[in-house]
Symmetry: C2
Subunit: 237 residues, 2 copies
């Protein structure tokens, strides 16, 4: 299956369209995005592979998607914990945190120890709006993740990667290749440098919006909120 | 499986708790409730049984759940249409309507004709806050639904039924027995008068809230947002 990529600029415009003329709230979009992330975890890392999931959240909407995913993972029977070193100011993030605390999800502070003890990691640090470079403490965090022997699902893009040109030439993230990636709404151009299982999520795209941005409508199956997409023989999505 | 029922008063207090102290927005709760309704339709009426689904929406949150369900049904491959004779004022309902219009979902006005042409009907007219009696035009609508030979999924409660004491003794709804029912969060007391397939949805209940209201946590499976629950030998849930 081939899916066209969307640039960082167009992805931002698309989100704005959805909210300003499409009738969507950020709460709704994030709910469906986060649910698709949790369903991707279920596919690549079933409960039998270990229930401890460490969700690393950045300060923006990618981190918010991770918070929603952590909630659904808790409902699915996992034991998620969250590392959220720079909590964003949006009141939605605060509410998502309360929801998690009411499910007894731990917000950890000792990242190296949590990383050693987890079965799986969700990288929801940065998404399509990442413009680099990595600021503290995220450079150190990405270095630790890429050195750890833990399977990783990155949300929207591997954190530290340039959305257009992929992995940095050197420094944190230069060797970062998550075992799984979930692109939200549409793949980002950097996905051409990615090798691993690739999913698409965010089942809210309409034909009108897809046409406006030259995107494909993913062929989701049944009631699934996530779809695994492959890479073709030429390495293109 | 046995699930305790929640009174109308407690269901209202529970919703208030979720939003005032639980960190939830109505957008989030309605998104998950509506998604569970759409998943229940998928279980009782797969695409192969006919794609035309008529979603009848009341003026309040039950109608809002129906609007969200209609959107997910469109994404699942159905051809939903919506009958929404008294649109509520909440801006969320207006946004949900815009989302549906962007998916080319029809808002119909000729209910009798639509009822004749549909394969399935979702009754999201009234839920746990219904206090009766049925006001125009809903008495006539319920009469037409109960006379039609169309399978129906009722959302939260069969519309016209008293939440505590069940079907009215006479008039519209006295003979109304939908083929399926989805209770949101927890069954309502009137479910004891119900015969048919019964589902529970709204996978956001925490143990803390369940304990506070003396409810059971439904044992949802996998990533499902809906669970079919049975009736025991004594007719109790």
């Amino acid at each position: 299956m081939s899916l066209k990529a969307i640039s960082s600029k167009d992805a931002a415009a698309l989100d704005k369209d959805l909210m300003e003329v499409g009738g969507w709230s950020l709460d709704q979009l994030m709910e469906l995005a986060g649910l698709s992330v949790a369903q991707a975890v279920w596919k690549v890392h079933p409960l039998s592979a270990g229930k401890n999931i460490l969700v690393v959240c950045g300060p923006g909407n990618n981190g918010g998607d991770g918070l929603v995913a952590a909630r659904h993972l808790a409902h699915f029977g996992y034991k998620p914990s969250v590392y959220y070193p720079k909590q964003g100011k949006n009141e939605l993030y605060q509410r998502l945190r309360i929801q998690l605390e009411n499910l007894s999800v731990q917000f950890i502070t000792d990242f190296p120890t949590a990383l050693q003890g987890t079965d799986f990691l969700v990288d929801s640090i940065f998404g399509f709006s990442f413009g680099g470079p990595l600021r503290d403490p995220f450079g150190e965090i990405v270095s630790q993740i890429e050195s750890a022997n833990v399977p990783v699902l990155s949300v929207d893009a591997p954190s530290s990667w340039d959305i257009q040109s992929g992995p940095p030439k050197e420094g944190p993230g230069a060797r970062f290749m998550p075992s799984s990636l979930i692109s939200l709404t549409a793949p980002k151009p950097c996905v051409q440098f990615y090798k691993g299982r690739h999913f698409i999520g965010g089942r809210f795209l309409t034909k009108g919006i897809a046409d406006r941005y030259g995107l494909d409508l993913p062929a989701y199956e049944g009631v699934e909120q996530v779809l695994e997409v492959g890479v073709d023989a030429e390495g293109k999505l």
